[in-house]
């Protein structure tokens, strides 16, 4: 049903809808525009009163600065490695578990599903303390590996749930046909199910990547040295510095948010499908 039909007919109501949409778009986009504009300013222009909305002397110094004067290269490398490993690992285990939940009706299935769902609800701060102690003990504090293990706690439940949603949509007649033809369960999973749900796997990997990329809490608690920190932590640390160089911080934020934005724009249809297949079922 068209919501717009609830409004009185005519040019007026159409105008209301458009004005509303434009205001929402401005609300969504304006902060990004401001970030972009600031990132192109010189430091002195950023502290002009009143602020200039469009930079007068355009400069890309900030974009060079974050790589040269700050260790953005290292942060980026760390974030990429950590997020990608987390996403791949959790999607693999999630797909396995998702297949199990989707196809087998065993005793305790409902309980385990409840368990997976409940683990999605745990707050990170419940786990950071023990993680800090345990990882310090086994020498994984301030390492990328430690963070990957920690991020699995956030990503695995979601991945399982999303993958189950995708696998549910694959008719089980396929499994049966393959079994009649003598294919083993593992064969079915790897040779038939995974290729079919490949788009779903991409969506799940993307979602896991975004979760890990955007995290601050774990990175803050489990890493400390400059060569190990992630993009988000690098940005957060800059805010704590005595003198904040806003153009550079904005450039850093933009670059730090970019992978998420680009991946999202290209894969948004998949992500929407994934979220509605797993987190939400139709």
């Amino acid at each position: 049903m068209e919501f717009t039909s609830l409004l009185p007919r005519g040019v007026f109501s159409k105008a209301i809808v458009w004005v509303f949409l434009i205001v929402v778009c401005l609300y969504c986009l304006f902060p990004f525009a401001w970030m972009f504009s600031t990132s192109l300013k010189t430091e002195s222009e950023a502290f002009k009163i009143p602020p200039t909305w469009i930079p007068i002397d355009l400069t890309v110094d900030s974009y060079i600065g974050i790589w040269v004067r700050k260790n953005f290269g290292t942060y980026f490398f760390n974030s990429t490695v950590i997020s990608l490993s987390t996403a791949l690992l959790s999607t693999f285990f999630g797909a396995l578990a998702g297949y199990g939940f989707s196809r087998f009706f065993f005793n305790g299935r409902r309980f385990l599903i409840g368990f997976f769902l409940a683990t999605q609800m745990l707050p990170g701060v419940l786990l950071v303390g023990p993680y800090f102690r345990i990882l310090s003990k086994v020498g994984l504090y301030d390492t990328r590996t430690g963070l990957v293990i920690a991020f699995l706690t956030i990503c695995l439940p979601f991945s399982t749930w999303m993958m189950k949603g995708f696998i549910d949509k694959v008719p089980d007649e396929l499994d049966q046909a393959a079994m009649v033809d003598g294919c083993s369960r593992m064969g079915i999973f790897f040779k038939i199910i995974l290729p079919i749900v490949a788009p779903g796997m991409v969506a799940t990997i993307l979602f896991g990547f975004l979760l890990a990329w955007g995290d601050l809490l774990w990175a803050l608690c489990l890493t400390s040295s400059e060569p190990m920190i992630t993009v988000t932590l690098g940005i957060a640390r800059t805010v704590g510095e005595f003198r904040i160089i806003w153009p550079m911080l904005m450039a850093g934020s933009l670059v730090g948010g970019m992978p998420a934005i680009i991946l999202y724009i290209f894969l948004q249809r998949l992500l929407v499908q994934g979220l509605t297949a797993g987190a939400v079922k139709e």
Binding site: L117, F132, L220, S253
Partner: protein, 330 residues
């Protein structure tokens, strides 16, 4: 065969397709044609097909218990240890101290206000935008991409952009409001004690409503068109259609969105940490940032664990309807 396939064609009580529409796909199907068939694994191990689930679900469950269950229990056990190693090995004193701690009380109420305002505003704006986007508009995909952008960027980035926008002197928001004449003097968004929490909520609205919109939009698109057509033939008015078809059709999605959003907002950390770090004073301090401080600034591990356990209990309680609803369906 332990379960048989349910009759998929519409049953008599399958009123107007609603039931069929929201029935999970996997339910009732059984893909075990040969439950007793032996599956040959490596090393000559044989396992019956109906037991194969353990191989699929097992690794995930074990991993989850290892990386999540174990630390969670560890946290629980920290929380009942005394802060000073003394005569008793287990005590509830941390929880008693919690109740006496005025900062904890303030933080708790901040969290309640923050979460309530955030979720309420997310639902309102999310539903409105979803309804508008569900109608035939040109450039709808573009709007959807734009509306989802705030949700994609990392929390920290969102917090920092807004911190800079909120800047009373150099920020663009005050400049804008002064230019259009809404205010005469700059507003101290984040340092005014009365405004700080609401300013943070405003950022959180920006950041969080896209998810609700996404879920509700998917829900709207899943409502079958013929329901509306049938009701229109029966002479229902537009508002009746909205109240009797759209809202009931969305009910499940609303529960999902409410539950997930509430949980996420209670856990929200990076946004506040990047913007205010709980300040001014503790006016924007929420449970997650407070716990973090107790852990890593005051090193009160036991006390911090107690706070996080309380938080967990609240979260599980809040999300219980959602967990039950989903696992009942399975």
């Amino acid at each position: 065969m332990r379960r048989t396939r349910e009759s998929t064609p519409s049953s008599p009580d399958d009123r107007a397709g609603i039931n069929r529409q929201f029935r999970p796909v996997g339910k009732g199907s059984n893909s075990l044609p040969f439950p007793e068939m032996d599956c040959l694994l490596n090393f000559g191990i044989r396992i019956k097909d109906r037991h194969m689930w353990a191989l699929f679900v097992g690794p995930g469950v074990l991993l989850l218990i290892l990386v999540l269950g174990f630390p969670a229990v560890a946290s629980l056990s920290y929380s009942i240890k005394p802060e000073q190693a003394g005569t008793v090995s287990y005590t509830l004193s941390n929880y008693v101290n919690l109740l006496k701690d005025p900062f904890f009380k303030k933080t708790f109420w901040n969290t309640v206000v923050f979460v309530f305002l955030s979720v309420a505003s997310h639902m309102f704006l999310g539903l409105t935008v979803a309804l508008v986007l569900n109608s035939a508009l040109p450039a709808k995909p573009l709007f959807r991409i734009i509306a989802l952008l705030p949700w994609v960027v990392p929390d920290v980035v969102a917090g920092i952009i807004w911190k800079w926008m909120y800047d009373p002197i150099y920020g663009s928001l005050n400049d804008f409001l002064l230019r259009i004449g809404l205010f005469d003097s700059p507003v101290e968004w984040l340092s005014n004690p009365k405004l700080a929490l609401f300013s943070v909520v405003l950022v959180n609205l920006w950041r969080g409503f896209p998810f609700v919109m996404l879920i509700l939009l998917a829900g709207l698109q899943a409502i079958p068109q013929y329901l509306y057509e049938a009701a229109e033939i029966d002479g229902a008015s537009k508002w009746q259609l909205f109240y009797h078809i759209t809202i009931p059709g969305l009910r499940k999605m609303i529960v999902v969105a409410l539950a997930l959003d509430t949980v996420w907002e209670v856990r929200r950390f990076g946004l506040i940490q990047a913007m205010t770090q709980g300040g001014p004073g503790i006016l924007t301090e929420v449970l997650s940032t407070y716990t973090y401080k107790q852990y890593f600034q005051f090193f009160r591990f036991e006390y911090a664990s107690a706070i996080s356990v309380v938080m967990t209990i609240v979260l599980l309680f809040v999300s219980l309807p959602y967990i039950l609803m989903i696992s009942q369906e399975e």
